[in-house]
């Protein structure tokens, strides 16, 4: 890459990166602001100000941990983080266990109607939870799963599995049939060929499913809110807006902290597997 090409690249990428990083910066600054600093509209919202509204380089003397401490000590936030992680991991495991064989079967074994079935399964993903939460609420009650994380573990796969099946079906289709045929001729069973040949090659697709399914679980609100009503059983997506918006009052600094904390590991996870994630979504087209 020439110097000029590099400069052009940076000229495009740097402003874009700053634009995308800005919400994180804003949340980071706000979470440590004092009430007085935050409430005074004459103050700059992007830095810490003294009571007179002036900026100082020893800005940490004008920031406070009070609202982060409130979040961790006066709310069930640590519990919500744990609940979110547990539900997310369980749902990812269930999703993989169901979607991998389903996607493979649709790609390899279903013949001509596999594609149609795959699309039909994907369409299930598009049914909005706002239509489903009332009848599902009745189901959850009948199963005696109200106020239990198991309700989410049961229901979340209803939207993660269709998407994952559709995505993996496309991915499996790109893997040359000849590789499996060779294994079958060498005496491997279909299951062994799938496990030894197909799965390792499909890692980008599987990682995409893992990250995407986990993100869906972290973001989901309606089911998490409807099926669980006790604060200590909630996940982050339902607990934060519920306990940090009280009546008309928003606890802005704690809200910012509550949003930023789970966003960072998710962002790192996406970043760590970015290349595989892109491969997963492009269906291994360049393999």
């Amino acid at each position: 890459m020439t110097r000029r090409q590099k400069l052009t690249t940076y000229a495009v990428v740097v402003p874009f990166a700053i634009f995308l990083a800005f919400p994180f910066y804003f949340a980071l600054v706000t979470m440590f602001k004092t009430n007085l600093d935050l409430a005074n509209v004459e103050n700059s919202p992007y830095v810490y100000n003294d009571p007179e509204g002036n900026f100082h380089w020893d800005f940490w003397n004008f920031a406070t941990f009070e609202h982060v401490t409130f979040l961790f000590e006066e709310t069930n936030y640590p519990r919500w983080l744990l609940n979110t992680a547990l539900v997310g991991l369980a749902v990812v495991a269930i999703t993989l266990a169901l979607a991998m064989p389903a996607g493979y079967a649709l790609a390899r074994l279903a013949g001509g109607w596999g594609q149609g079935a795959g699309v039909a399964i994907f369409l299930v993903y598009l049914i909005p939870p706002t239509l489903l939460f009332l009848p599902l609420s009745r189901l959850i009650t009948q199963l005696d799963l109200k106020d239990s994380l198991w309700s989410l573990v049961l229901i979340y796969p209803s939207f993660t599995v269709p998407f994952a099946t559709w995505l993996l079906m496309g991915f499996f289709k790109t893997i040359p049939q000849e590789l499996e045929d060779a294994a079958l001729i060498d005496g491997a069973s279909r299951l062994k060929a799938f496990a030894v040949i197909v799965l390792p090659i499909s890692l980008p697709g599987i990682l995409t499913v893992v990250i995407f399914a986990f993100s869906l679980c972290v973001n989901e609100f309606i089911y998490a809110f409807t099926f669980i009503s006790s604060s200590e059983q909630r996940t982050v997506s339902a607990g934060v807006p519920n306990d940090l918006i009280r009546g008309d009052v928003f606890f802005w600094q704690s809200l910012m902290a509550a949003v930023l904390i789970p966003a960072i590991p998710l962002a790192l996870l996406y970043n760590a597997f970015l290349d595989r994630f892109i491969k997963g979504f492009t269906g291994g087209a360049f393999r």
């Binding site: 007085l36 807006p241 519920n242 009546g247 008309d248």
Partner: protein, 471 residues
Amino acid sequence: MADVSDELERPSSTLTRGGLLKKGAAGAFAVAMFGGLADKSFGFYGPLKFAHKQLAGELRIMQWAHFVPAYDQWLDNTYIKRWGEANDVEVKVDHINNALLYSTGASQVAAQSGHDLFWFISPPSTFQKQTVPVTDLVQEVSRKLGPMSRVARKSTYNPKTKQFYGFPDDYAPDPVQYRRSYLQEAGVSLNTWEDLRKGAPKLKQIGHPVGLGMSNEIDSNMLLTSLLYCYGGFIQNEENRIVIGQGANRRGAIQALTVMRDIYRNGMTDEVFAWTAASNNQAFLAGRLSVALNAISIVRSAENSGNAALSDDTFLASIPRGPVMRMGNEHVMGVFVIWKFAKNKEAARKYLVDQQLGYREHFIRSQFYNFPAWTGAIDGGFKSIRRMSAQDDHKPKGKYTILTTIAEKYTTNPGHPGNTTPVIDEIFNTYLIPQMFAEVAQGKMTPSEGVSAFARKANAIYRKWKNQGLV
């Protein structure tokens, strides 16, 4: 292009990134499936023990997340434990955001399962076929405390069924909150709606517009219905029949719509059409608004912000007077219902009575937000309430005394002069009133067309509930 054989031949003895991920996922999955998710085995739900005693019953309550966190902390950690121990019942209170109360209530009704007691922020009369009448409890409390306040009675009594479908617990008066320095600078008075109509352009001119919502949210609902009362544009009459499209009511409603259109055009900004219940708080606390109508959450938040320039300059006042009356809806009417599917109805009934009989502490802990449904719950009634609120030491001193006047003289129920029927509840929950005002303010309809369209919809809702035998 990646080589497939590279992936297949990767040595397995070293801990690769993939291997780490697999092992981590397997470990987490095992913990999730057999450890952390087994919440009941962890005892999250195990009955609490008081004084080494296992409590016999269980009572589950759902109510809003109070805007005073300290109130909820006291309620959850002190009050219900004390009451539970005395009554041998394990009480658990869940709190949710007020905007989600109705949808959560609807979901519990759909599932025919949920909490024993459910608190609503406004009278939930559309749910009354799902609730246990509490007329006997109302009579019991009235025998001990004297008559229930009018606002509470009209909110929860159905004259058709002759039953109280819900138990009124508390209400919050709805004062005007204003920045005195801005009003003085612009030379504006808030005594009448006409004063505000004339003053609104001056306030906007000095950079501090009026903030009266016309959006699908509770504050707009309460405020705009109050404006209708002040001009005599009543939606229904004392017999709970829809009358807004007729005679003096129609003329009053047209006047109210015209006044609000003028205030908007000359003294407000477009944002009021997209407000949430919190928006007027935020705009006021940001120092932009000169006038807003809300319960005391604005002024309490100003005090908590530490911004003395803001809080010392924020005053409370009664709703402006109209040509017919000075009258406003309550801002919050806290009504508990006992669902028919509640598992512990007896404990629920006892809880309601006991809470009301000892409401003084709730009033104080809520920082004067929760007024008791029975004024007699506080010894000395309004006199004591006025004295207590006068002792609040925040500046400007004595600003909370006006709340007593508003509660005593200028607070009524949605549906005034009738009851808060299912018709009124549905009109509120479908936000027909803010929509009517917004369409007129935006010039999509004339005030006359707005009233006619609203009356048609209101009459259709009335017929629906009449067919169900509830009006």
